[in-house]
Symmetry: C2
């Protein structure tokens, strides 16, 4: 395949070429120089144009909604139901299905084509899985990068769905503009959600499978925990009941998401959020770059000798690292 420039890919993707869009997302997933090239090209293309098009400051450009929750809580079904709702309102929607436990991406494992279902012939929907590709910035950098690409291509909404509630998933979901946490009736009395750090990132709670026993108890538990944790910046996460498989309550879920968006925009908080998220991304990229440098530090003979001591159990890796850092970091 001849290498196409990021510019030509972007132009094609903006014209509706889905293969070009997929290729751009593969580049940001890879991180480093390929992602940098895409980023530079997005910068040149100008965020201002898109903001103007969307009307009303850059807050108007594609809005990212994160969906997270324990495996089996019905996130995919909920995501599909939301896609249907958005398409009925003629909104362009992209789904990023983030799976840090998989080395696959681009649809191999999550079966994007299967998931597309009734959206398969719909140009207004784009579904893509994102997986770990081994670079240190990882999905927590690649996913927001991918959101920016989708924003530049003109999607109104980007739904970021994670497979579980591990550290990476919570980080990725928490970087969205609005984060929806999905729980189930009886799912450990909502205590599990709290333990997994989901109370901190939730802007909206959905009690999915609410036709099962225990739904009202779970709602009550969540409300009590919210009583304890207090509001954040004037927003108390609403708790919405839904049955994603039948579509019951999906309207309410979306009303809650839109209410949160309106709150963020009115308070000027959306811009602050995106700024904080960007700062976090930059930190991660710096760390990734520094790791490359660290590999040089550990290529020395001194490092080999220390490695031997660690292998023998005479030294711990933390002290060995201290030693090499004391010596080497000034020469980075």
């Amino acid at each position: 395949m001849p290498k196409r420039s990021a510019e030509s890919l972007l132009t094609a993707a903006q014209g509706g070429d889905r293969a070009a869009l997929a290729r751009m997302l593969s580049l940001v997933e890879r991180g480093g120089e390929p992602a940098r090239e895409v980023g530079r090209c997005l910068g040149r293309a100008g965020a201002g144009d898109r903001a103007a098009k969307a009307g009303g400051g850059d807050e108007g450009a594609a809005y990212a909604v994160g969906l997270t929750g324990a495996p089996g809580s019905g996130k995919s079904t909920l995501t599909n139901a939301l896609v249907r709702l958005l398409r009925s309102r003629d909104q362009q929607v992209a789904v990023l299905a983030v799976d840090p436990s998989s080395p696959y991406s681009g649809g191999a494992i999550l079966g994007d084509r299967v998931r597309m279902g009734d959206h398969a012939l719909d140009d207004g929907v784009f579904i893509r899985s994102m997986a770990s590709r081994g670079h240190l910035g990882g999905l927590a950098v690649a996913t927001p990068d991918a959101v920016r690409v989708l924003r530049a291509v003109g999607f109104d909404w980007v739904l970021v769905e994670t497979v579980g509630v591990g550290q990476v998933e919570v980080e990725v979901a928490g970087q969205a503009d609005t984060t929806v946490v999905v729980v189930n009736p009886g799912w450990g009395d909502a205590v599990q959600a709290a333990k997994a750090g989901l109370m901190e990132i939730a802007d909206v709670f959905v009690v999915n499978k609410a036709d099962r026993p225990g739904a009202s108890e779970t709602r009550r538990d969540l409300e009590r925990m919210l009583d304890l944790s207090g509001d954040t910046a004037g927003w108390r996460p609403p708790v919405v009941a839904a049955v994603a498989t039948t579509g019951d309550g999906i309207d309410d879920v979306w009303t809650a998401v839109e209410a949160h968006r309106a709150h963020l925009e009115a308070a000027g908080e959306l811009r602050d959020r995106r700024r904080r998220r960007a700062a976090d991304e930059i930190t991660r990229v710096i760390a990734a770059r520094l790791l490359e440098e660290a590999r040089h530090l550990t290529a020395s003979e001194e490092a080999a000798a220390l490695g031997e001591e660690v292998a023998d159990g005479r030294l711990d890796p933390w002290s060995a690292a201290d030693h090499l850092l004391d010596r080497g970091v000034k020469n980075l």
Copy 2:
């Protein structure tokens, strides 16, 4: 709880105090200074003593066997069967169940007490889950650290079992002395294993659930892929059929593990492996330390301005990081 020194914990753990051992593992899981304290104390306690006790160089000390494979391939059942076999030979065995997708550890999620099953009253078995604790070195540093603790406490074998085949799991399993890759009949014709990067880390293949249709085809596929990839350092991974639920083939699995161990020890390769693994750990710790430094870099006003450009899509995080690194890295 009054804080106990790492020394007193180690002494207690070596005397059979399982609560003290669990506490030490929590410290290494946390990383940084707590892990450093444990490491220093292991170093002082002297790896030589334990090696002498085990008879014949440090290769004699506790041997780590990694078990990895797709979720549902039967790794836990296989691990339990191996524990039973080792106990019947009067070997002391520890199990580390590594779950990077979980924020829990110490048994909350994986149900260590349930898993203990018939080993619950057996002092010769210790089972512990390890989860992500948010520090950057992560499980790829914490797990080998934990293996060293278990080695110091006198276990003969440490079985390191992962939940899936994501990047972290593959890294963790690949750091063991011998890595067992578990596949199932019909599991994507073994091609999935190759895609997940398991061919590179496998020392032994187990076709588990071999009483199901397609087992011989899966074995044949693996053998063909091994024909293509060639031997590594004179070792061709054997492909062993087993049914972990009934115990069929478990002896063969263990014979293959012991054959690989004998090969590594005869070739002097075990020591080289452990050295390479230690160097990798040191690199990861250095990266973790550098990330702390990176957070300082991104605390500046200049960083805030760059963060704003990234948030607006005028700049990519990679270029912003380059800029801050050019400015700041000399002042680290």
